[in-house]
């Protein structure tokens, strides 16, 4: 009998890992204070006369663990359950990155929620959270629609429909591999 896990078994293990990681991530967010929008706003209020630095320790703790854990992990040739590591490779700074970051930050400061804490807070059954999460998911879909429209516009008139479709596919694939 072979001790190697089959393809099907390793996929199942990946699914279990994803569920467990999501659960631990949410517990971490809840313990840290990130699911308290008032604390988030107090942390971002650098110039208000009373600054609450607590949430800086969340990033500090997370970065400390990941800096070490990342380096130890990528020494392996492959992940435990998957065939390969899928890491972002882009290093260029473009307008999209900066404008996207600014828009996200504006929303974070306005609502007090970033994506993880918002999703974790769904279970707290609050209308505020439902309103925010619904809008956030809509914003994600909206970006992909706008992105596709812009890609279409750029290629219109210069390429025939076949080429246009190919280009779209290529664009969506390239964004797929670079998402952090």
């Amino acid at each position: 009998m072979s001790t190697h896990t089959t393809q099907k078994e390793s996929m199942t293990l990946q699914y279990i890992a994803a569920l467990g990681v999501g659960l631990l991530f949410a517990i971490g967010l809840g313990v840290s204070g990130m699911t308290q929008p008032a604390k988030v706003i107090g942390f971002l209020d650098f110039f208000g006369g009373s600054w609450d630095p607590a949430l800086a320790f969340v990033m500090g703790g997370g970065v400390l663990v990941y800096t070490i854990g990342y380096r130890l992990t990528v020494r392996r040739n492959t992940p435990v359950f998957a065939k390969k590591f899928q890491l972002p490779t882009r290093r260029d700074i473009d307008k999209r990155l900066v404008i996207g970051g600014l828009l996200f930050g504006a929303g974070w400061g306005l609502g007090g929620y970033c994506p993880g804490p918002a999703l974790t807070s769904i279970a707290s059954v609050s209308t505020d959270v439902f309103v925010f999460v619904t809008s956030m998911l809509s914003g994600m879909l909206l970006f992909s629609t706008v992105d596709k429209m812009l890609a279409n516009k750029t290629s219109q008139g210069t390429v025939n429909k076949d080429k246009k479709d190919k280009k779209e596919k290529a664009t969506s694939m390239s964004t797929a591999t670079t998402n952090a």
């Binding site: 467990g20 949410a26 967010l29 663990v65 290093r91 700074i93 930050g105 974790t120 505020d128």
Partner: protein, 154 residues
């Protein structure tokens, strides 16, 4: 007069923040070690929503894990969430705008506080450093504007 600059010192909150951050870091390392993936919440959620072909089940399970973790918190540590009236004063209109900005911006900028702020910074990614600077800056500006122009209520 608001001449004094106060820094809120709450060591219990600092300790909880650090413990939470360590748990988030461990979860992110686990996703890399087991599945070879970066723990970016906006990327995982966006991929779940937008790419129906393949690769969506693990994203959906991660998403389910987040919800389940939230449920566990409501049972064992309900203080994780604001009780009624404890949250910041935000109208539904402001929350709608905030949500749209967060959703749109994280997809446009390829990441959020987790993917860029934790994983990316730890990997010394220049893109993540720029993204983190951008969202921290914009967040601080908006919080300042809301306080100065609207008295913190919007």
């Amino acid at each position: 007069m608001e001449l004094d600059y106060i820094m809120i010192i709450d060591t219990t909150a600092w300790l909880l923040a650090a413990i939470g951050g360590i748990l988030i870091g461990l979860a992110s390392v686990a996703l890399l070690l087991f599945n070879g993936r970066i723990a970016g919440i906006s990327g995982i959620t966006g991929g779940m929503l937008l790419r129906p072909q393949g690769d969506t089940l693990w994203r959906t399970l991660f998403f389910g894990g987040l919800i389940l973790g939230g449920l566990v918190l409501t049972l064992v540590y309900p203080d994780a969430f604001p009780s009624a009236g404890e949250g910041p004063a935000r109208s539904y209109g402001a929350l709608v705008v905030a949500g749209l900005l967060v959703g749109f911006g994280t997809r446009m900028g390829s990441g959020c506080t987790s993917g860029h702020g934790i994983c990316g910074l730890s990997r010394f990614s220049p893109r993540s450093l720029v993204a983190t600077g951008s969202f921290m800056f914009a967040g601080a500006v908006i919080v300042g504007v809301v306080r100065a122009a609207f008295g913190g209520v919007i």
